[in-house]
Symmetry: C2
Subunit: 330 residues, 2 copies
Amino acid sequence: MKLATLDDGSRDGRLLLVSRDLAQAVDAADIAPTLQAAVDHWWSVEADLRSRYDALNRGSLAGAFDFDPDRVMAPLPRAWQWLDGSCFLSHGELMQRAFNLDPIDGVETTPLMYQGAGDDFLGARQDIPLPSEAHGIDFEGEFAVLVDEVPMGCTAEQALGHIRLVLQVNDVSLRALAPREMKTGFGFVQAKSSSSFAPVAVTPDELGDAWRDGRVHLPLKVEWNGQWFGHPHGGAMHFGFHQLIAHAALTRRLTAGTILGSGTVSNADRSVGSACIAERRAIEMIAQGAPATGFMRFGDRVRMEARHSDGSVLFGAIDQRVVQAGAPCA
Amino acid sequence: MKLATLDDGSRDGRLLLVSRDLAQAVDAADIAPTLQAAVDHWWSVEADLRSRYDALNRGSLAGAFDFDPDRVMAPLPRAWQWLDGSCFLSHGELMQRAFNLDPIDGVETTPLMYQGAGDDFLGARQDIPLPSEAHGIDFEGEFAVLVDEVPMGCTAEQALGHIRLVLQVNDVSLRALAPREMKTGFGFVQAKSSSSFAPVAVTPDELGDAWRDGRVHLPLKVEWNGQWFGHPHGGAMHFGFHQLIAHAALTRRLTAGTILGSGTVSNADRSVGSACIAERRAIEMIAQGAPATGFMRFGDRVRMEARHSDGSVLFGAIDQRVVQAGAPCA
């Protein structure tokens, strides 16, 4: 199934089913008003959603309309919990070499993960409002999963069965603010503004063979202002998403609708490029002694998309612009 | 006003108004079904809530019933955003001295803050289920504020006007897990299980003179298994809550219902004791070379309460037990 959230002016939007080819959509709010409601009651709504999804794909559904990715919010416009990993080890290794950082103990055995701010996600085509270019504006191309309620102490094996949806994310990062926050040991607050999500969230079966071992085995193609920037492969993720879930659930249960991210997709093979600017700059620093690439400027666009190996669409594309935030009013 | 959330079996409970003396309560779900709904629509519901609250305090309200703190959830059972500071500098200084840590640069000018897990708060009298005593189970007595929607770039001065409610928190912390997580720079995930909240949340005016400069100028009395543990004073908070809000809103807006915590209350005056075990252990390490006090055991109780200077009740008391979590099922 493919699910999206229509921007109807409300805070949590309205649930849509979207056809496999992303051409058509149909309202599903009579089954579950929002994606959060669908995940809260997954076992009682799944069959009805699947039945309507199948009809939509057959082209036999009255009420279907053209799907417009400009009119949707993030599939889950806000999450009770957003936990983001850093599970592509080649990324961390490059950052360490470039900045002469001490290696982080145990990254091969214990997932790196931070609590993110999940209260205000952006849609795939929404502008990213930020206060200052001096903050070092960067994109991060990632995959993520959304779970139903996970009990405390859930094992990695059990966790696979709690994955309801797979998503594609732009985890916007402000690189000039991150080093101070990492140094405190308290993790990121200011350095992670609102993340953005591809138009549709998909059930794992939509990935076919590309969903194995709790990983998305597909390349993520990233373009910056229309130029190729990278197409690193998601299969290189050191931990599977099921292991991230078990890690997060060691000392607490996770509410239904919790989203867990992979961290920026990164491969040891340099020829595939990168999914974030910071990594390209690190490669430049290692090779040439200094970064040659700057961070994003207001007006810049980033496009991110993962497709099936046959070229057919999957999540749809993130394609958005960074803009200067307006002055706040009290 | 004093607000609480009745545990009616639903995930977000049902809004109650509670009398100033915490003796009586009345249903307020017809005005706003939940505390989140009240905060989402504060300007349209505040007058009706205040009018009913005043009638409740006059004792003239049909439908009022005895308030039972055993029947309430956390005032906000889950928050879209839970950000916790560490704003009592004497606490950080003691931890640094005891563990020979490097001082954190800029703690006097930039608030220390981490993203916490706000999706599953506990009520004041609920048991705290945890998997293992070996994790170093600790309590942390704190104050917190709940805001309405805060725009990106909000100044500290503007932020004062966004504080809708003041709360009292037990930020349960697992001390054996924290050092590894701090060392990664990514902050706390496993080391911070679900936090608990005192029975009622109060509007700032309920604090009278004790609400000044964005701080709660009252001692927080902490007892562990019925024994005095400390009564450090909230007025020693180095940053006011308005400064924490401005810090968090630098690069993003904060959703209505975001809660920001002060960090464990701590004073330089040792005679007032501590609001967490880790701090007492640090004092013992500095004085005697080794900690004498152990962490919590299953079955232990912690009680935390802040009262007005005349002894009258304010938030009600947190009074809860740590218990072993049951084995999870898939």
